[in-house]
Symmetry: C2
Subunit: 156 residues, 2 copies
Amino acid sequence: MANSTLDRFDRAILAILQEDNTTPQRRIGELVHLSAAAVQRRIRRLEQTGVIQANVAQLDPARLGRAITLIVEISVESERLDLLDATRARLAAAPEIQQCYYVTGESDFVLIVTVATMAEYQALTRRLFFADGNVKSFRTQVVMDRIKTGTRIPVD
Amino acid sequence: MANSTLDRFDRAILAILQEDNTTPQRRIGELVHLSAAAVQRRIRRLEQTGVIQANVAQLDPARLGRAITLIVEISVESERLDLLDATRARLAAAPEIQQCYYVTGESDFVLIVTVATMAEYQALTRRLFFADGNVKSFRTQVVMDRIKTGTRIPVD
DNA sequence: GGTCTCGATGCAACATTGTTGCAGGCTCAC
DNA sequence: GTGAGCCTGCAACAATGTTGCATCGAGACC
C-alpha cells in the first residue's frame, strides 16, 4: 500500500498539483489526457497512500508581519537519545520555527526561523537555546534574500 | 492595495488555509463565524493582494524517489553584484534545489537540496559548484531526520 | 486459444462547493 | 442627519467534485 509505483499519469498530476492544487480536475484531465473521473480517483489514491501529504496555502511572511528569516545551526552537548529527543520536541513545537532538520556534520540541528523583530528572536534564543541545558552553542545567519522557497520536488 | 491590514477574520481564515486549503468555504464560515460568501470574498482579496502566494500540494520526497535531503552552505569568492546574480540565478534554476537563501555571516548561500542518490548529489556539485568560478567553497550537511518541514507561518 | 479475474477507464447523473446579484446594515466624514 | 463606501447574509446560479455502471485490456490459468 505504501509502495505502489507511480506511472507517468501520476507524476504529471503531481507536477500540476505541486504548482497549483486549485486546478480543476477537468483541466488536469485535458493536460494529462485522462477523464476528470480518472484524475479524481488517482488524486484520492495519492492522498491515501501518503504521496500527497497535505494541501496548503503558502503565505507571504512579510505580509503577516514576519519580515525576518533566520537560519540557525545548533550544536548539542550530548547525543544521548533522551536529551536529543527532548530538544527535538521543543524545537518542533515552536511556531516561529518553520523548518527543523536533524543533521550530520559540525552542527546537530538546522532551523529556519521567522520573526517580526530581532527582539523576538532574542526572546526565542533565551526560551529555546539558553534554557535548554543540552544546547552547547548556536550560530545564526540572517537571510537577506529568500531566493527560492517552498516545497517543490522534481517528479521526473 | 499591497498593504491592507488583516483583521482577525482574515487571520483565522489564513490559519485554516495554511493547514488545509481544501476546507470548504462553508466550513470555514462556520469556524470563523462568517457566511461562505464573505469567506470567499476575503480569500479572493487575500490572493489578489499577495498575502496568499500559492495553493499547492505537498509531496513526500521519499515516495518520489528522493530519500536524501542535504543542507549546503556556499561561500563565494567575490561579492561583485554581477557574479553574485549569476550564481543566484543558476541556483534558483536547479530543480534539485528546493530552497535557496542568500545570507549574512560565514557563508553566502544556504541551500536545501533533495536527491535520490549521493551520486546525483556529486553530479550536482560538479555542475553547480565546481563549474561556477565564483564558488569558493561549500559545506554539506546530510539530513538524518526532517523533524519539521513546510511553509507554515504563525498568523498571530 | 479460451476464459476468468482484476484493475482501470469514460460517460453520465448526481452531490457538493464556489460564485455572484441584491438588499440591507454599519461606520465615518461633513 | 445623510450620503458614500464597505462589508455582510441570503438565495439563486455556475462550476467542480464524486460515484454507479458498463466496458476495455492485461495477465493468470487451464
